[in-house]
Symmetry: C2
Subunit: 204 residues, 2 copies
């Protein structure tokens, strides 16, 4: 772990054990880190999975790429350094949510492998689940829900992932959700099954 810039700070330990939180909440903490191209369906799958979990009495929550940039990361743009800092901060927030016992989804393009691996390293073993939400670039571009690919092709958006900036696909994701080959219900079922099979949430 890198040294904090500020000195004279002391680590205060919570006197609440993770097991106490788990007993209250009825599930284990987890960060489900959704990564993938714009238009791959990260937010869509995350939003639907959040609903499915809440219907089961599990208070899941999404940190969304679009939403967080209006708040915590409103002072960051899309340069490589800013993208890295964006992901670093989100990763730290995910860790805080895990420390608090929550199941949290992050739905960010998060194109750089090194950035994602840094977030993984920050998490306690077993609590970080990398989910590659995948669809081929041409599928994402044909969806173009927000009209961003069109703008990117026209040169109106610099450093657009997949067009003018790289996307480094995960090599060892815990889970791959292919949204070109599965409908939304099937995608949600894949995520839920992973959580059940690995003991994060009770089987229904």
């Amino acid at each position: 772990m890198s040294e904090p810039k500020s000195k004279n700070i002391v680590w205060s330990e919570s006197q609440v054990a993770p097991e106490q939180r788990e007993a209250i909440l009825g599930h284990k903490p987890a960060t489900l880190w959704f990564t993938g191209l714009s238009g791959a369906g990260k937010s869509t799958v995350a939003l639907a999975t959040e609903v499915a979990l809440v219907e089961r009495g599990i208070n899941a929550f999404i940190l969304d790429g679009d939403n967080v940039r209006h708040g915590l990361n409103s002072n960051l743009g899309f340069s490589p350094e800013d993208r890295t800092e964006n992901i670093r901060r989100i990763g730290e927030v995910c860790k805080l949510f895990c420390d608090a016992g929550n199941i949290v989804f992050s739905a960010f393009i998060s194109p750089y492998r090194e950035d994602r691996d840094l977030v993984r390293e920050k998490h306690p073993a077993g609590s970080f689940i990398e989910v590659h939400v995948h669809a081929p670039l041409e599928v994402c571009e044909s969806r173009d829900v927000k009209g961003l690919y069109k703008k990117a092709r026209a040169g109106e958006i610099p450093e657009f992932t997949g067009i003018s900036a790289p996307y480094e696909a995960p090599e060892n994701a815990e889970l791959i959700v292919n949204t070109a080959e599965n409908d939304l219900d099937a995608c949600v079922a894949i995520v839920i099954k992973y959580l059940e099979d690995n003991g994060f949430i009770p089987a229904k």
Copy 2:
């Protein structure tokens, strides 16, 4: 609300209503923003209140000044700008915890009134509770748990709140917890009573 630096971002709405989270968790969301001098007892009162709430089945969680600086804000120091950015980020994280239905404590000196008011403004009405954890400077200095006042008086720590940097006390805090006149149990009881009386948690 200020415009985010990044354009081409769209607000995604969660399809989960706050009432659904409240029904699952059994309490309303709240940020308890503890502010006060170093040594006033912010972390001590927050840690003990966290335990008391968890014993009642309420999964409260603390964002601690010392802890967050090891993670989310490890790239910030103690200059006025860095303190402001420190508080801004923490405020946004508190808001995210509230959005997720949680009761979250922040235990930071947070010396500037304007910074705290900005955090308040970010929160939905009624979910931000400013708690002035108060003890006279001479009491805080005589405690000097971390030896910081001694270092500050020796000039070894620049910009130390109360000694070489200002502390702007809250003018309209929802709650004042005087740690010079109450023992720890009484301080915890003051906070718990506020949460009960204002409908954040069920009465015991």
